[in-house]
């Protein structure tokens, strides 16, 4: 069920609902809407939509920026951080498209090459058929030279994208072996559907990214992730891939509690998790270091030119597996192809290892 806050009735997002005869109910305030995943609310909030992705200094974090046009996700992954991070279950969509585009323009004004994306507090494409933020954002994104914008998804919903100029856009998929998708990533697209959608985007000229995040150490995981990588390499051409991230599961204790509250008990809870230096549970370090290393080696063997990084991983794991420490946000960010391209020729822009 879609609800619209009175203040958002004139927004382009709601006008589009009108044009397409998509039913909605008008509410005074978002608080009037039942707090269920099946409820979507369009709100009017004037705020800054682009923020640095939260991270810690202890575990290496890149300089990614989030553009939070939506809070909440129609998918229902057992491990989703939103269960602990958001104070609501319903999906809240921003109708204030002016503030969203202004926020992007503010980032551009800084003149620093930035990567941004909408996939932090929601899935970027799952609801794009109803709320087409791809169509709204693409002209702004492609009109600027210093930003690269990522639409991150577990869906195969690429219809709107295919009509767009792919210039500054990266389309990315979170990947896991099919058995984990079945057991832990409820309502998401199958692995094959994700890969086929990615291949179609590559053929349409989009840059792609893949996120092995979270890597989950369940029975037979080493073989499953090897098979997954080989399948990826078999379907997707290397030239289309901008970057790949690999990250083992991590969770604050509140998320662990939320996962335990779920009706379907996650196999992740049986894992060798211990409290990390940032207060989050992570797999026992030697265990995750080994799987991250195996995956890195396999990817590097087949895709020699693709930038692979670890998200939120300890410097010692980087040093052991990659031979370097990427440093903190700004330094880390300079390793990305987008930053390298834009910083080419600027002596101060490079990190030398």
């Amino acid at each position: 069920m879609i609800h619209v806050e009175k203040a958002a009735l004139d927004s382009p997002i709601v006008n589009k609902l009108e044009r397409e005869n998509i039913a909605y109910a008008v509410v005074e305030r978002v608080e009037d809407v039942p707090d269920r995943k099946s409820e979507i609310v369009v709100l009017q909030r004037h705020e800054n939509y682009c923020r640095p992705c939260p991270g810690t200094k202890i575990y290496r974090c890149c300089g990614y920026y989030t553009t939070d046009v939506m809070e909440g996700c129609p998918f229902d992954c057992s491990y989703c951080i939103l269960q602990a991070y958001l104070s609501h279950k319903n999906i809240r969509v921003s109708g204030d498209t002016v503030s969203i585009t202004n926020s992007l323009k503010e980032i551009v004004k800084q003149g620093i090459p930035r990567r941004l994306g909408t996939g932090e507090l929601s899935d970027s494409l799952a609801l794009d058929g109803i709320f087409p933020f791809t169509l709204l954002l693409a002209p702004v994104i492609n009109n600027q030279d210093v930003i690269q914008f990522e639409f991150k998804t577990k869906s195969a919903n690429i219809r709107n994208l295919l009509g767009l100029n792919p210039k500054n856009i990266v389309v990315s998929w979170s990947l896991n072996p099919q058995n984990i998708i079945t057991d832990e990533e409820y309502a998401t697209a199958s692995l094959e559907d994700r890969l086929n959608a990615a291949k179609t985007c590559a053929e349409a000229g989009f840059k792609l990214a893949f996120h092995f995040d979270p890597v989950i150490c369940c029975n037979g995981y080493a073989e499953d992730y090897s098979a997954l990588i080989l399948r990826l390499i078999n379907v997707i051409p290397e030239y289309a891939v901008e970057y790949v991230s690999i990250s083992a599961f991590r969770a604050p204790s509140l998320l662990i509690d939320r996962m335990r509250e779920r009706k379907e008990r996650s196999a992740i809870l049986k894992g060798d998790l211990s409290l990390g230096l940032d207060g989050k549970f992570r797999y026992f370090k030697p265990l995750r270091r080994d799987i991250l290393n195996d995956m890195l080696r396999l990817l590097n063997k087949h895709w020699t030119g693709v930038f692979v990084y670890y998200c939120m991983e300890h410097a010692s794991v980087w040093e052991k597996n990659m031979g370097n420490d990427p440093g903190e946000k700004d330094e880390f960010e300079k390793l990305f192809p987008w930053s390298k391209k834009h910083n080419a020729g600027r002596e101060d822009a490079y990190v030398v290892y």
Partner: protein
């Protein structure tokens, strides 16, 4: 005395809409029908005890273990409101799970809608889960119920218990009977039963079997544990951050030069073990 006067004043003000009057009864009030707590209510041993008159019958609302003929008589509309009033007098936020369970039972017995009780936000905001929990708790055996009554169990642990089948509840009851755990141990045990429910069968708790079935540790982790336990005798080596760093903190005590010399030999003897740990950690 000052405290009791303050409570009396507060009570008269708070419940002024219910026409409170101090009344001496011929006989005593009904202390059993609404008895949901064993708690003493500060100040009310001196005060006239609060009571409610419903359909001509007088029900005591607090200090249920004390018989009295003088009461502050309130006039709620029905027995449900009387019970809600009783909870409010004690302070809904101070009511334990075991007490809420008693209130729930009273509601069931007296055909009262439980949701009219002054539920605190943690129950009110998750009403379905709360009702499921109380319904499940009604079926729990006496050992578990008695234990829960003595301890202030976190709601998240109670919610895990509410999801468990009879075998799992029996298993936990057997654990309680065999180990008399601390609250922390009980919480962790319940979590392990919840996480490994598909691998645990029957209702007989065996510590060794339980430890093996619910062992979350990977092979490499167990190997490190084994070496550490081998090292730790005369000297102890501890990693304080769950092996996120490789730092081992060494400690030992000596009382004379001979003991110091002995420690030096021990440290030398465990060199290969230390090397093995760092090799497993990947820091060799």
């Amino acid at each position: 005395m000052i405290l009791s006067c303050l409570i009396l004043k507060r009570m008269l003000k708070r419940f002024s809409a219910l026409n409170p009057i101090v009344k001496t009864l011929y006989g005593s009030a009904d202390r059993e029908t609404l008895r949901w707590t064993k708690r003493y209510l500060a100040g009310t041993d001196i005060l006239p005890v609060p009571a409610a008159e419903v359909d001509g019958k007088i029900y005591q609302l607090a200090v249920f273990n004390m018989e009295t003929e003088t009461v502050i008589l309130l006039a709620p509309g029905d027995i449900g409101q009387a019970l809600a009033l009783s909870v409010e007098i004690y302070g809904a936020d101070t009511v334990t799970f075991a007490e809420w369970l008693n209130v729930y039972k009273k509601c069931a017995e007296l055909n009262i809608d439980f949701t009219v009780m002054p539920l605190p936000s943690n129950i009110r905001n998750n009403l379905d889960a709360g009702l499921k929990l109380f319904a499940a708790a009604m079926r729990w055996n006496k050992t578990l119920a008695d234990w829960l009554e003595q301890k202030n169990i976190p709601w998240k642990t109670l919610n895990l218990l509410a999801e468990m089948n009879d075998d799992n509840i029996g298993y936990i009851t057997d654990y309680l009977a065999k180990t008399s755990p601390s609250l922390q141990s009980f919480r962790q045990f319940t979590e392990s039963v919840a996480d490994f429910a598909d691998k645990l069968s029957g209702s007989v708790y065996d510590p060794a079997v339980h430890a093996e079935v619910t062992n979350r540790r990977s092979c490499i982790h167990r190997e490190i544990d084994l070496i550490i336990s081998k090292i730790n005798s005369a000297v102890t080596a501890v990693n304080k951050d769950n092996w996120e760093t490789s730092a081992l903190h060494w400690s030992f005590v000596t009382k004379n030069a001979g003991q110091y010399n002995s420690i030096l030999k021990t440290l030398e003897e465990v060199f290969e073990d230390v090397r093995a740990i760092y090799a497993l950690l990947g820091d060799e």
